[in-house]
Symmetry: C2
DNA sequence: CATGCTGTAATGTCAATAATTACATCCGAT
DNA sequence: ATCGGATGTAATTATTGACATTACAGCATG
């Protein structure tokens, strides 16, 4: 399965906020039009980011702001905020191997460590990459458009 | 989203084949009972592994065999065989950012490289891990059960 | 207090996972 | 040659998550 587009949408939103702050009022409608999804989708993702402590949202008047500088927000932060797998496991282990089979009752313990290695490597890479890099790259591309 | 349990089931099956070959006839029913899923689920996964060239299946009489030694079959081989995302992308990019927005028309190019970095790191780790390691670990656990 | 925005529930569509039934097909053993 | 045990695969169903959309209550500020 693929990682939900909520992830790339969240990165897109952070980028918009940084690029357009000051020039435009950042509302869910404004963002929805840039991302090209329904405003409610934006608002729901914003709730997840807020719950994770990554942004603050002003009600009534509108407006969204990151709670920390962008080089302190990593892909992993966003991934965790937005990907709703309860136990946080990347791999879905078949629930119910037969305990009467020697393989069935040992495979979980024998395999789990390896699965975690893969997950850890991936998550560490996500912790290395910050929003700042993406925002900078986007701004460069914008200014070199002319 | 999580990686389908087809992955761990496939690893479980390979382990059963290696542990029980000679002592039992390896049929989809036999495997289904160890994994504790429906035999048809096993057969479908076996088809995917066969299509990927990882196993050979004997019709009529039954029987499954890996086409290569287990230390030449990696997690990545199995992952690719069993995880059916057409384009092979780990991240699902929102399809349709607004090209009239400077961010919308540049975010894909600015972000894609980073996403690929994450995917590559993960896939490289999966290429490092072979079935042999899991089968050995399982056998050790089985023999130390007494 | 009117306006514009957020928060969120309700509903619908679509795709993927997984279970299950059913049956055609294959092939070795008797 | 055929019987019995297996595989190959289609069809159906239930469940779940993604995502879209409508609707409306609640909030904050001019």
């Amino acid at each position: 399965m693929q990682i939900s587009s909520r992830f790339t949408i969240a990165v897109h939103v952070f980028t918009c906020i940084d690029v357009f702050k000051g020039d435009y009022k950042i509302t869910s409608d404004f963002l929805a039009s840039s991302v090209n999804v329904n405003p409610v989708v934006i608002r729901r993702i914003m709730q997840q980011l807020k719950t994770a402590g990554l942004i603050e949202v002003r009600r009534g008047t509108g407006g969204i702001e990151p709670t920390r500088p962008l080089d302190e927000i990593t892909f992993f932060d966003i991934y965790k905020a937005v990907e709703c797998v309860d136990n946080g496991e990347l791999f879905h282990f078949h629930e119910d191997p037969n305990p009467q089979c020697p393989v069935g009752r040992n495979i979980h313990a024998a395999l789990n460590g390896r699965l975690n290695e893969v997950q850890e490597v991936m998550e560490n890479e996500m912790k290395r990459i910050t929003l700042r890099e993406v925002v900078c790259a986007t701004k460069e591309r914008i200014s070199s458009e002319n």
